[in-house]
Symmetry: C2
Subunit: 412 residues, 2 copies
Amino acid sequence: SARSFRGPVAVVLPAGGCGERMGLSTPKQFCKLLDRPLISYTIHAFERIKWIEAVIVVVAEQHVELMKSIIQKYNHEKTQWCVGGLTRHRSIFNGLSVFVDDKFMECHLTKPKVVIIHDAVRPFVNEDILLKIATAANDHGAAGAIRPLVSTVIATNSEHFLDHSLERSKYRASEMPQAFLFDTIYKAYQKCTEYDFEYGTECLHLVLSYCNTQAKLIEGPPTLWKVTYKQDLFAAESLIKETLSQNVCVITDVDQEALQLGHCLKKMLMTQHMDVEVISAEYGKKKLCIPHVSSQESYNIIIIGNTELQEKQEVIDVIANSSMTLLYPMVLILVYISLPESTPFSKKLDEPSAIRRLAKEAKHRNILVYGLLVNYTKDSEELNESLENMCFISKSLMKDRNSALTGQLLVV
Amino acid sequence: SARSFRGPVAVVLPAGGCGERMGLSTPKQFCKLLDRPLISYTIHAFERIKWIEAVIVVVAEQHVELMKSIIQKYNHEKTQWCVGGLTRHRSIFNGLSVFVDDKFMECHLTKPKVVIIHDAVRPFVNEDILLKIATAANDHGAAGAIRPLVSTVIATNSEHFLDHSLERSKYRASEMPQAFLFDTIYKAYQKCTEYDFEYGTECLHLVLSYCNTQAKLIEGPPTLWKVTYKQDLFAAESLIKETLSQNVCVITDVDQEALQLGHCLKKMLMTQHMDVEVISAEYGKKKLCIPHVSSQESYNIIIIGNTELQEKQEVIDVIANSSMTLLYPMVLILVYISLPESTPFSKKLDEPSAIRRLAKEAKHRNILVYGLLVNYTKDSEELNESLENMCFISKSLMKDRNSALTGQLLVV
Ligand SMILES: [Mg+2]
Ligand SMILES: [Mg+2]
C-alpha cells in the first residue's frame, strides 16, 4: 500500500522568522507570489494531501491577525495557528504542544502518531518525499531529508584563515521536511536544555541526544529548496507560473473559422509542450464547459469566436462563482476573428473599450482577461504567420499572468 | 588607493561542465538569459573592470566553436579560450598554463602576478568582492570567498542514519571567486597528485597542502550564488530584468500635452523607485538625445508625442548603430496622445499596422518597440486613471522585456 503505517499525521510549520536575511520589510513567508503569500502555497502543499489531517502554523505575536486572515481568505480548512517563541526550537515546541496542552482543547485536535516538521518557506514539497519521510519516521522514530552539499564546507581559524576543508562526499546538507513519532520529539523537547532551546538548530540532533533515536536520512529532490533571498522569490514565482502554464482549455464557436483556429492553436501550443484540450460550444453554451475545465485543474481558457461580450461575461461569472480563482489567477484570452469581407473589427469602436471594462471588473475577481484579434486572410502564408504569432502571444500571456495588460486588445 | 597591489590580474573561468545536474540538454553556462548565454554575463562582469587584463575561459572540446562565436558576437575583447580537461582541476590547470606554456605564445598574454578563479555560472560577482579577494591573495598568497551555511551539515553512517551534525557557527561554505599569487597556485598544480586532479574540488586545499599557503577567507555577498538548477536560471533572468528596469529616459515633443505627460510619468515612475530623466526635443531632434541616453547606461526609452513614424525610425537607427543593444535588448515605448477634439487615433487605420512593421524590423536589431495610446481627456479624474495605467503598463513592459508583445498598440 502507498501508506505503510496507521494513525493520523499532522504538520508543524514554524513561521516565526522576521526575514532579516532578505533585507525586506515583509518576512519572506508573507511575501506575495502572484498576489498570494508564500506561506499559503506551503500550507496548500500539505492540505491537498489526503492523509495529512492537521497543519499548525506557528507565528510571531505581531503576525497573528495576518495569519488568521490568510487562513480565512484562502480557505485553509485543515490549518490552525499558534503563537511562537523567540527561537525556532521554542516555536516548534509550541506547535507540538497544541496537540497535548489543555489550553488548546477547543481545537479538537487528536494527538498524531507521526508529526512532520517543515519550513514555511519551502513551498514546493511534494507528496512523494512526505510519504517517504513519514513512513521512515514511523519505522525508526525520526527521519529527515538530505541533499548533496552544493559548496565545499570549510573550517576557519580565529583569524579568518582556512583551517581545513571537509571531504564533500562524507557530508550532506540537512534539509526539511523532517518527521518524528510524536511522543519521541515531544519527549526530546521536554528533556532538552535552555541552551538547546536558544542555540540549537537541528531537531534530528535533539532526538539523538535525548531519546537515543538515530534519524533515517532520505535523499530529497532539488525542489525542497528554501526561499531565503530576493532571487529565490523571483525563482519561486517563475516556477509557479511555469506550472500554471502547462495546460489550457480552448473553447471555440461552432463556425468554420473558429474551429480551424482552435485546431491550429492546439497543434502549435502542443509543440510548445502544452497540454491542450479543444471543446466546441454553441452560442450561450460555453459557460457549461467551465465545470469540466475546473475538473482538469486548468488555469487557462482561450475562447475563440466573435460572439457577444454577454456570453463571455457569463463565462466569467461561472468561473468567479467556482472555487477556481481562490488560489491562482485565471487567464482568459478572448480571440476575435477579423474576416476580410466583413466590417473591420477595428472600426467597431465600442468593442475594445467594452473589453477593457469587462476585464477591469474581472480582475477584481482574480480573472485576467486579454483580447486577441486575428486577421483572418485567405493568403495561407500570411495566415500562418498570424497564427504563429497568436500562439506565441497566447503562450506568453499564460506564462506571464501580467495584470498590467488585462483588457488590452492585441492584434496578430 | 582602491588598489593596494601592482601587476596585472587575470581570470580563469572553468566552464567545462555538462549540466547534468540541471537535467537540461544545454550545459547551464550556455543557457540563454534574455537571449544571451549565461557565460557572456559572467565574462562581462570581469571585462568591465579596468584592472582585469585578461579572461581565459576553459571549455570542453565540443563547445569550442560555440565559445568562439560567443566571444565574437558579444565583442569580448579581453577574453580567450582554451580546451579543458576531464575534471575541474585539470581544466583550471589548463587555463593557468595558457600564461606560461609556449604553445600559447601567439596569445601574447603576460603572466599575471595574481590570478582570480571563478565559476562561469556565477554571473553577479561585483568589483568590490573581486578587489578584496585579489588584494588578499596578493598579501597572503591565496584568498577565497565564504558564505554562512544555509543548512546544517551532517555526517551519515553507512546505513543512511544520522551520525552527527556539525556546529553550524564553526563552518562556512567555500564559494567563488578565489584568487592566488600565480606562481603559488601553478606550483601547487605542478606538485599535486593524480588523485587530487581526479577527485579534488577545492583549490584552497591544494595551496595549503603543497605550498603551505593558508588562504585568507572573506565573507562575500549573497549575489555570489551559483546557477545550479532550473529555478536559478529563472532567478538570474529576473534579477537581470530588475536591474535593467531601474532607469529610463523619457523624450517628449515640445507641445503642451506631451510635456505634461512626461512630467506626470516622471513623478509616477519615481514612486516606483525608478530613476527617470525627461528631455524635450523638437521634431527631428530626438535622435540627437540617444548618445546621452547611452552615456546614462539606460536600456529604456519612452518617446511621447504624435510625430510621424519616420522620426521614430531615425531614433531606432541611431540606437541600432550604437553599441547599446550588444549586451541587452533595449525597450522603446512610443506614447501617442489621443485628444478628444481631433480624429480618434483608432480611426487612423494605417498607424497600428505601421507600428507593427517598424517593431518587427527593430526586434531583429534587439530593440523591443511597443505602442501606447493615451486618451487625453479634460476630466482630471479620468485622466489621472489613464496616467496611472500608463505608468503601470510602461513599468511592466520595461520589467518583462517580452518579445511576444512588440508592435502592439496598448490603450490606456
Ligand atoms: Mg523558518
Ligand atoms: Mg563549473
